[in-house]
Symmetry: C2
Subunit: 218 residues, 2 copies
């Protein structure tokens, strides 16, 4: 099956939303795609006739098996390109998302298979997200929000939600990277801030707002 760029984007977003939530509401898809509900409805009808989603008017929906396969193909491309951009071209991991959004729509499967090979079949992209293999198999990793980590248990920083420059500046200041070992020592009830230890550095206290944007793998 062949999909337009737009269809691929919808499929990808539906996939991520249903991973969070089991099923997807049209409104959340609209906000995730930065578009309007009416446009979403139109696309849902098309994806339904293409048997990409299970859909009944006015109800929430999910991807079919074919839809999941399609989503994982796009995600595979996206993450392989991100890996390439960081590890071969020397981009910072926070600068590659937009470029990969374009590259992921280049259609050749031969290209992706050779790229995968050239990169030596990486398992994770620069944000710590797993890269599906050519058959759509993907390492399921739960990204636990830092604030919900069990106390004093070593974990690894796996991804950062907000990747604004302001956020990156903060991360740099605290010396937090993807892959850093992190321990949650205690919560402060008053303002939700937490005490953490990054690698073998002295403990620091970070705000709830910052903490909420950091995800970890146990």
């Amino acid at each position: 099956m062949n999909f337009s760029h737009s269809e691929e984007n919808y499929i990808k977003h539906i996939y991520h939303l249903q991973m969070d939530n089991g099923e997807v509401a049209a409104s959340s898809l609209a906000s995730s795609m930065q578009t309007k509900a009416a446009s979403v409805t139109e696309m849902l009808k098309k994806l339904n006739t293409k048997k990409v989603i299970h859909y009944q008017p006015y109800k929430n929906f999910t991807l079919t098996d074919a839809g999941i396969r399609a989503a994982l193909e796009v995600i595979r491309k996206h993450r392989l390109w991100e890996y390439f951009l960081v590890n071969k071209l020397g981009f910072n991991w926070d600068a590659v998302h937009e470029i990969a959004e374009e590259l992921e729509h280049v259609s050749s499967l031969e290209l992706i298979s050779r790229l995968d090979n050239y990169l030596e079949n990486p398992m994770f992209d620069p944000h710590g997200d797993p890269i599906p293999d050519s058959k759509g198999k993907i390492k399921m990793v739960k990204h636990v929000p830092l604030v919900k980590l069990p106390l004093k248990t070593a974990a690894k920083v796996s991804s950062i939600k907000d990747q604004s420059p302001a956020m990156l500046q903060m991360l740099k200041h605290y010396n937090i990277h993807i892959g850093s070992t992190i321990k949650l020592n205690r919560h402060f009830e008053f303002d939700g801030s937490i005490e953490i230890r990054i690698d073998k550095q002295p403990v620091s206290i970070i705000s709830e707002q910052l903490a909420k944007n950091i995800y970890c793998i146990l």
Copy 2:
């Protein structure tokens, strides 16, 4: 200035046509783009308002300086990606054109500059065509058709017009590659076939049809 994929394709085709011919007719652009004359007219009006072409209704047209710059940017991207596909991913040089047609529209200039760097600033793509630098400077090379080479003068095979599998099979048989040293020894009047020497191999005779598809640099 920002261009759609379609606009970029038109600009690129106009560039190639005006390199051959000085100016471009709507009909030749239509056939080169595999589209209809009416669609071309529409696009010409748009490119004109965007000041990409010098255009007056019913007359032939050419790119403006801005248009040439835009064309060279697309061509630079196309050829750098082709180089990447062949020299890093191991594609055959005849398999990369279509993929590069998609990659050339990825917009990031930072990406292209890093790719160029990563590839160590190649001057020529796998077909022997020169790669414009980031300022749009391009080595002007005249590709002489093999049949018009001066007799017994060493030249280099620079490009192949028809890249069908049938053609590639022939080239393989005669052991002709991009970059091979080639000498034209004589013409046979009867059927237009020619006697050539490739590198230090024994001379061979090739048909006019084959010869017409081979271009050289002196």
